[in-house]
Amino acid sequence: MSKIINFKIDGQTVEAQKGETILQVARKNDIYIPTMCYIEKTSACASCRMCVVEAEGVDGFVLSCNTPPTEGIEITTNTVALEEERVNIMKLYDVNHPLECGVCDKSGECDLQNKTLEFNVGQQNFSAKDQQRKIEHWGLINYDPSLCIMCEKCTHVCNEVIGDDAIDVKFGGYGSTIIPKNAETLDCTFCGECIAVCPVGALVSSDFQYSANAWELSRIPSTCAHCSAGCSLEYETRHHGINTESTIHRVKNNFEFTSLCGAGRFGFDFQNKSVSDNAAFDKAVEALKNANAIRFSSIITNEEAQILQLLKEKLDVKLFNEDARKFSEFMKAYSSVSGKKHHSGSLDAIKQADGIIIIGSRIATDNPGVRYAMTTASRHNGAKIVYAHPIEDVLMQNTVTQFMKYEAGSEEGVLALLANTLLKNADVDEATRAFLDDLDLGYIEAESNVGEDELLNITKTFARTQNRVLIIGSDVFAHESAQNIAKLAATIEKYTDFSLVIIPQEVNTLGVSLICDLDIDENISNVVGYNADGDFIISALEDANLSVGALNQQEGTVVSIDNRLLPLNVAVEFKGTNLNEIVKRVGLEKENTVDYTEVLPSSSGFQAVNFDSLENFLDKYGNDTRGYILDEVETLVDGTLTAVADLAEFNGTVIYHSNPVLQFNSFTNTTKQLERDTTLRGSAQFSAAAKIVDGEKIEISFGTSTITRVFKLDPELKGTVALNPTFDINVAANEYKFLKSKIVRTI
């Protein structure tokens, strides 16, 4: 049976792929069918009934949003009878809808208003008794049920795309409303996706409410600067009055096809507000000239990284960035087996997957973009998802089908066990077979705590899967066996149909690692810090010796988890200087920072494309046309797997560097709306082992650091490892994220 279905819409011959609905085919062919509740990225809500069409030979109207076409059927999208019903539906939507458009936050960007005008609803023949309804305040989100048209888009995205499944429809006919699911108030990760998809002013940002009219806001398309998912967004800015600076009022996204987490949506005000004087600028130039090294973070653009690399070559300074260096070493080891620079997978591959194994990440907080892709795979493809980690995550329960707990430090062993399982019948080379045959499975299983039955279960549940992805998280980059882990991942990618996604830690860890030749960080004199510690600090954060703009204040590009180069734009102006101005004084010559975009190294897959010719939008069909995907680069295959060494043991009070929801780094830490939970969170078991109780103030020593925190007993956590946030402290990126620690109570 052919997978293509040929049929006609309004006389035009069109074709549908299996699984496509009449509405989807119509949209693909630019044929308009009105909808109020349809959203492309979820299953059909099917509540508005506007999209009814007529089908030749079929009595009655057919709903186009959830009906696939049949071969040869002739569909008509617009007749007098259809128009009449659509007008009636719009009249119904308008029954008792409050006439507060003048103060409604939608301020004209309202589907209800648009469709009311489109269908020319000039009079109302229907009436019903009005009802009193209370406005709900759910933290960052406000909900006004009297404005709600019950399209159900919000509940669908929350469950099917985000995975929080935190809101529900309370059925009750005319009195139906949206309520927090199984809770008194909204308890979710506050991604704000429900606000984004709301076609009316029912769900709004409490911060934005009553602060601006939509038409006064300027839109600046950019890329989210908080993690490596590379989500597209638009900053919306406005001047406060005459001669005042413009500020970001809110962030919006193309919710029809993409999503944002709450950090992206609400954590937009991380711009640098301080400005330094000329004297500081001169000092910075001097500091650079005398520098032995530049230490920098990965929260910078490719262009800045390129400038730093050129500085290294020009001034013979060292470049320190342990985060990117560790990642780069990991990827080099990966390349030595895979023969190419870039991992094969992408967020899209995850969304399409029906079998996913993720290891080495507390993913829901590490990279929400990956989590949402996994949620999509779970709901829409029924994906089998193995979540291998020392700590279970309640947020992932409705997505994960098999939690595989391993002992902290045993990732290499776990990867080896996975390789052994997945490569059982693969046609691998002799060296790989020998490696697998030599594995001491008994020892590894015992030390990692991963049982044979768990591995067998993967084989069993993955038997029917067709699109598989292996995801490797940032826990492993600083692992002492990181290189063997990378090679194991590459081996699985090479010899199976698994595609591979490796999650870079910071927004541009990947870009920096592809551009800079990094040195091992060491304690030497005359280090210039760039968004990092140093003897002289140039930074977009507080306490800088010279202030520069943050990522929402400059043009430039970053490389996302998809190996896609993505443009950033200026949302708010930075009045001071920037890195390029400084380096012009030490002999680098390009006029503007973005002049470096087209000279990024082709040896890493960058293309010679000018910044201004980079696109930054999704087209009307949802295709991502932003920036470009890096070219694949072949590498020498000279790596071999080394025997799995003794697995590390972590006893005593172990902490795990992991941020709470919506916090990522020192930039998210500066934003106004995002919650800042700086507690050490642990289970009852941890609390007993560490002899500390909820609310107690403690001093935690690990490695060379000592910090103070308050301990929070988290009933949702299990096990003996506590979660220590890093967004508010400096932690060494060359240290493995699980750390033995000493915890003492302080008074």
Binding site: G19, M36, S43, A44, A46, S47, C48, R49, M50, V52, A55, V58, D59, G60, F61, V62, N66, T67, P68, P69, T70, I73, E85, N88, I89, L92, Y93, V95, N125, F126, S127, A128, K129, I149, M150, E152, H156, N159, D165, V169, F171, G172, G173, Y174, G175, S176, D354, R379, H380, N381, G382, A383, K384, Q397, N398, T399, V400, T401, F403, R464
Partner: protein
């Protein structure tokens, strides 16, 4: 046939207005004219029309109350724009007329909104609610106009009148357990699998089981059949249950167990009927002890239904869900007469759910239980399943009697015949294949079509694929033995001779066509009977002609007060879903009986029984508003060569894509029926 004053039910047009009662024309349908023992109905109003049993009905109020049901009581409502606002407008406008404030234009608005609802609503409830209302407005226009013109209240506007409504659907109505099928399918469509599962568990605790091995009578009443093919209803039930299990959730219970009432109920048997009784009684705060004779829970679904059809780890989830509601199980307890007497004093009620565990004879010559190789289906399946699922070995006495070379049912090199035609016989022959038998034959009196109707299409074809031979139109005449060891069977052949008078065709033996075939085993699986030896003789319980416990089929109490019966021991060997339906009702009756001492049904149950009599599904109805020709999805099964030799689940279930596409075919045929009593 019901006596009516006026009826538009299913398009009939009976109008006895103004005629003396003795001249009234009767309705062709089984309308609920008598609501219950002490109440007559005054009117019945539903998705396909309205019937009045009395002249005194306030038709405006009736229409208004029907619209109110849609607003207030329908769980299905609120999901689409036309239904949500339209339903409210219907109600408000009708109320306006009924209270004497209506205008002529209101009638036009009612008709206009009614039409919009009929053509654009999401489910049948929204599409059909306007039907009887418009009927009433049309046929009783004078009554409506009188209220409008004179601005007066309708005749019984302010009186207290009982209106009793129930939501139904063709599939739920056909389901013995009245499962909210459109509800759980909607859960799948919306990818809210927890909601889907809870919709199932409202009336059916065995979601894993009935998502796998239910003969799905609902699918014979699926309205989608009128358009193309029925929805694969059963297979979609599995989605919610698998979701809960796969994600390791605590049990999604649709209701919180109520506080303990202090009442106690004993249940005999932990099969589907016993589990169901216990589950719903426990949810009512009743302390329930379930006594099970076997060392394992689950009854025939555990020891009868093989692993490859119903994996034990999945059934265990259903059982644990019942336990989670707060049920106490007592294993290895073969209930005795003394126990039963004791139960009467120690418990507030007893539910007998002991099933039918005696294999009936095939009624042939030389049929003697002592013949080695003659092995009842129930016993045969017990030992197969106890070994495969629990590693319980076949005792030596059975090994010896049935000539087993080892401690489990190993039939390598043996030949086996089974006489049957139902699910049990199918389980026997397919287990025999898996036990290594070299030849397995099903001997069946009737034809292929009938065996498919009695089981399922899939079951029959999978057995054929696995190598089972079927000899149709045949029966065992005689067992041939040597020193009490079975050696061969004499098999008679029959033909179907049509009745010249147009009656049912008769099976007539073909003389001279009989043959003798060598066999090592004969497994009778024709039917089972109930073993009720544990019931005290002096109770003298009333029995059916099938030797099962007699109840009235509504409240499931036996002839002895406080002693109830459900499942196969009441009905005779029947389906799991039938046992669940009976037990659910029984539990509901018991929950009230132990408090009040009275046997009562709820309004919902009375309505359920009325609707079953009326039949919700109409196979002649023309379905509109849906695109026909979307084929039913079929789940894939394990490869024949692979599955023949192991017990892995044969049916792999739907892929998510298949499940979602199948759920999208569901037309949500919810209806509201309402009685004025």
């Amino acid at each position: 046939m019901s006596k009516v004053y006026f009826s538009t039910w299913k398009g009939e047009s009976i109008n006895n207005i103004g005629k003396p009662e003795e001249e009234w024309q009767e309705s062709a349908y089984n309308l609920p004219a008598q609501y219950d023992d002490h109440r007559e109905s005054k009117a019945f109003i539903g998705w396909d029309g309205v019937a009045l049993f009395s002249e005194d009905v306030d038709v405006i109020r009736l229409a208004m109350e029907y619209a109110a049901q849609y607003q207030e009581y329908s769980e299905a409502c609120g999901r689409c724009a036309p239904g949500r606002w339209g339903g409210r407008i219907l109600y408000d406008q009708l109320d306006k007329i009924a209270r004497g404030e209506g205008a002529v234009a209101d009638l036009d608005h009612l008709k206009e909104i009614g039409k919009s609802m009929q053509v654009t609503s999401k489910c049948e409830i929204g599409k059909t609610v306007p039907n009887p209302i418009i009927d009433l407005m049309t046929h009783f226009e004078d009554t409506f106009m009188e209220c409008i013109n004179e601005q007066k209240e309708s005749k019984h506007y302010k009186e207290s009148i009982g209106y009793i409504a129930k939501i139904t659907s063709p599939c739920s109505d056909a389901c013995p357990a009245d499962v909210d099928i459109p509800g759980y399918i909607e859960g799948v469509r919306d990818m809210r699998f927890d909601d889907s599962l809870m919709a199932t568990r409202e009336t059916m605790p065995l979601a894993h089981v009935c998502g796998r091995v239910c003969p799905h009578p609902c699918e014979d009443a699926c309205r989608r059949t009128n358009l193309d093919e029925p929805i694969s209803i059963m297979a979609l039930k599995r989605l919610g249950a698998d979701w809960e299990t796969d994600h390791g959730y605590d049990f999604f219970q649709p209701m919180e167990p109520k506080p303990k009432t202090g009442k106690k109920v004993a249940v005999v048997g932990a099969g589907p009927a016993g589990l169901t009784t216990a589950y719903y009684l426990a949810s009512e705060g009743v302390e329930v002890d379930v006594y099970e004779a076997l060392p394992v829970l689950g009854g025939e679904v555990t020891v009868g239904v093989p692993e490859y059809r119903m994996p034990w780890d999945k059934y265990l989830q259903d059982i644990e869900c019942v336990r989670d509601m707060g049920v106490n199980f007592i294993l290895n307890h073969n209930v005795s007469k003394e126990d039963m007497t004791r139960f009467e004093s120690e418990y507030d009620a007893t539910m007998i759910a002991s099933g039918t565990r005696i294999s009936k004879a095939v009624r042939c010559s030389n049929e003697r239980p002592e013949i080695q190789g003659y092995w009842g289906a129930i016993d045969f399946l017990d030992w197969v399943n106890l070994y495969e699922k629990f590693d319980i070995k076949t005792p030596e006495s059975v090994q010896k009697q049935q000539m087993l070379p080892t401690d489990h049912v190993d039939l390598t090199g043996k030949t086996l015949a089974c006489v049957g035609g139902g699910f049990t016989s199918m389980d026997v022959v397919r287990c025999a294949i898996r036990a290594g038998a070299k030849r397995v034959v099903m001997i069946y009196r009737r034809d292929e079509k009938t065996i498919i109707r009695n089981t399922t299409y899939e079951e029959y074809h999978e057995a054929v694929e696995e190598g089972v031979e079927f000899i149709f139109h045949s029966a065992v005449n005689e067992i041939v033995d040597e020193n009490d060891v079975l050696k061969a069977l004499v098999i008679d052949k029959f033909e179907l001779v049509p009745d010249p008078n147009g009656g049912r065709a008769q099976l007539v033996k073909i003389e001279g066509a009989s043959e003798t075939i060598d066999f090592d085993y004969l497994i009778p699986a024709v039917s089972q009977s109930a073993d009720l030896g544990f019931i005290p003789d002096d109770w003298d319980l009333e029995m059916t002609s099938w030797a099962t416990l007699k109840t009235n089929g509504k409240d499931y109490m036996t002839s002895r007060k406080g002693v109830f019966a459900s499942g196969d021991c009441e009905y005779g060997p029947m389906t799991i879903v039938n046992a669940v339906g009976q037990a659910k009702r029984g539990a509901s009756v018991i929950s009230r009986y132990i408090e009040s001492g009275e046997i009562t049904l709820t309004d919902d149950e009375i309505m359920e029984d009325h609707l079953k009599k009326l039949k919700v599904y109409d196979k002649k109805e023309k379905v509109t508003g849906w695109l026909p020709g979307l084929p039913r999805e079929h789940s894939s099964v394990l490869d024949t060569d692979f599955r023949r030799s192991n017990n892995e689940e044969v049916n792999l279930g739907f892929t998510q894509e298949q499940a979602l596409s199948e759920a999208d075919r569901c037309m949500r045929c919810y209806y509201i029926a309402m009685v004025q009593a």
